[in-house]
Amino acid sequence: MAKDEQQILDDVTSSDYKYGFVTDIETEFAPKGLTVDTVRFISAKKEEPKWLLEFRLRAFERWQTMEQPNWAHLKIPEIDFQDIIYYAAPKKKKELESLNEVDPELLDTFNKLGISLEEQKMLSGVAVDAVIDSVSVKTTFSDTLSKLGIVFMSFSEAVKEHPDLVKKYLGKAVPSGDNYFSTLNDAVFSDGSFCYIPKGVRCPVELSTYFRINAANTGQFERTLIVADEGAYVSYLEGCTAPQRDENQLHAAVVEIITMKDAEVKYSTVQNWYPGNKEGKGGIFNFVTKRGICKGDHSKISWTQVETGSAITWKYPSCVLAGDNSVGEFYSVAVTNNYQQADTGSKMIHLGKNTKSTIISKGISAGKSHNSYRGLVKMAKNATNSRNFSQCDSLLLGDKCGAHTFPYIDGQNSSSVIEHEATTSKISEDQLFYCQQRGISQESAVGLIVNGYAKEVLKQLPMEFAVEAQKLLSISLEGSVG
């Protein structure tokens, strides 16, 4: 080969892949499959800086050496990682003319959930009237926030506009290599939210992905990073009660939260991804890594989740209580019906002194489903005078479902107090008859009783979510009794 040609080749292969590589990046989709080129493609498409590309590449390399864990109480069909498209440009959903074109079953669910007509239109991809000026709503909203110095935007936008902030905190709660799915996310994450609350600021509104300025579809490898600086407060809502379908089966999101001294973040999730049909076919795999670091003293992170969807749910929103006197909380209602499976719970890692954690987990199993609670409470050697209270309750509807509990306790100092309570119950026929004898139909009775059971968790949710969540619980259990 001529020296010049060699030089050209060297130049091309060794330089930064600033704008992509062999494949034409103007296309909407990355080619199917996952190779190092796919990772570069994604990064180039998003016009990411070098440090972020390197973050992805290191993660990809690491991921290739890892194996999918198999210790969960879950039957997971084999996932072909090469049969997934890892990048799709923000979807332009075909706009429908009116609600009449929408799947009537979907509309029925919307109505049961009490979702307003305008919102139904938005959720189904129907063109929204000019009357609802969604642009101006968002503009007013983001004005309010920026006046306070609050940063709330899509992750991709944040990388461009606040690269220093993102770089400083990315991977601090969930370090690269933490687990198989989070590491995959590190390599191929699509988009998500970034939120930064400056010192002493209390965010005046509940932040929600619904109002996110760049409301592109969330994608399968969502990445969210929330940072609350000293004395700050924010309440963040993720998800919605409306059933969401997606052609992508694997959802492996990562959510990181970091709180500085005296700060507090409240993170609420309502998850109702498509759970598969009554025979257990199809449905989303929701494998999520969520972790918060209470970095500063007296800081607090609380996770509240209502999980009713997905074929398989595998997640342990956790807190590392590093700062002294910091507090971690986990409130969860997980419902499984038909053939759904869930293995969920929390990890509370106490590192600082006088730290406190609370875990309240309510599992509800129906149909032929299996619902597992898995928790870890760890009191490190220096976490003196720390306390944990855990309560995990299981409610079984019918006799073909399963509820399982796997609590782990690791106490490494003698001044900490760890309390654990567990109950297993079922809705008795007597309770149902009592309700029926008062004129309440059996379906309503189950809804009533289940909501009563989950009350302690539901009351942690911001109000609008709580009302929808109650309805959602009833709907998820339709047909489960009798």
């Binding site: 008859f433 009592y434 309700c435 029926q436 004898q437 059996q442 309503s444 009533l448 989950a454």
Partner: protein
């Protein structure tokens, strides 16, 4: 006629408990049903209310002239039948307010009426609480959770006051009550009496009938009503005991 039970035979798990019960209850009446343990008193109540597992093998139950055997329990309730349970269950996490509101609104829906507004409902709750002399802190407690036996029974009467049934069957409402609670419960029942509704009181003891005075007393023995009389019958039974009944029946 409000309730007409004709030759009712009821079995539980294949074992026949009621062996041909006849009973007629008209509007405005109070009937007492007495009898030894295991004779079928609660079975009768459960069968009328429509509890699962109580199989009607023969006979009819007519309510307002309509056969109700094929109606689901909630429909019978929506039609106006109320059962005051002997052992009311607990429903943790479900407040009495929420419970009653759900019940009332489902009943109203059945009758084509609109649901009650929150204001109307709370007003009714306060009114009825006063009527049956129930503690005002009741509202936010879970149904029967942590209630003493007496409180549970009072709660049954409170629910009766809220739902305003046409036919109330009170299954041993007096068991476990001290004399003061008994008076309160009886008082409540009496205040709810109208010429359009009727009450069936199932009891062991004559004492309750001093306060809820019956028009008719029936003695249920070995799955059948073997004797019917006025309120004096209860006094006679108290004096002579169930042996007297056995002799009368066997002769």
């Amino acid at each position: 006629m409000l309730l007409n039970i004709k030759n009712l035979h009821v079995s539980i798990h294949g074992k026949e408990i009621l062996k041909g019960v006849n009973l007629e209850v008209k509007k405005g009446e109070v009937h007492a049903i007495m009898g030894p343990n295991g004779t079928g008193k609660s079975t009768l109540a459960a069968a009328v209310a429509g509890k699962d597992g109580y199989e009607v093998t023969k006979g009819e139950i007519l309510y307002n002239g309509k056969e109700i055997m094929d109606l689901a329990p909630e429909v019978r309730a929506q039609e106006g039948i109320f059962l005051g349970f002997q052992y009311p269950v607990e429903i943790p996490g479900v407040s009495i307010t929420n419970f009653m509101r759900t019940a009332i609104n489902e009943i109203r829906k059945y009758h084509g009426q609109e649901a009650m507004t929150a204001g109307e409902f709370l007003k009714k709750m306060n009114e009825k609480q006063k009527l049956v002399e129930i503690h005002s802190k009741l509202k936010n407690r879970s149904v029967n959770e942590g209630f003493s036996g007496g409180e549970k029974k009072k709660n049954e009467i409170f629910q009766m006051a809220m739902l305003e049934p046409q036919l109330a069957i009170l299954d041993e409402t007096d068991s476990g009550l001290d004399i003061d609670a008994l008076k309160i419960v009886a008082n409540g029942v009496n205040k709810l009496k109208t010429k359009d509704n009727a009450t069936i009181v199932i009891t062991h003891y004559q004492r309750l009938l001093d306060y809820i005075v019956p028009d008719y007393v029936h003695i249920l023995f070995d799955g059948k009503i073997v004797m019917t009389g006025g309120k004096e019958l209860a006094l006679e039974l108290e004096e002579k005991g169930y042996e007297w009944i056995k002799e009368r029946v066997n002769s």
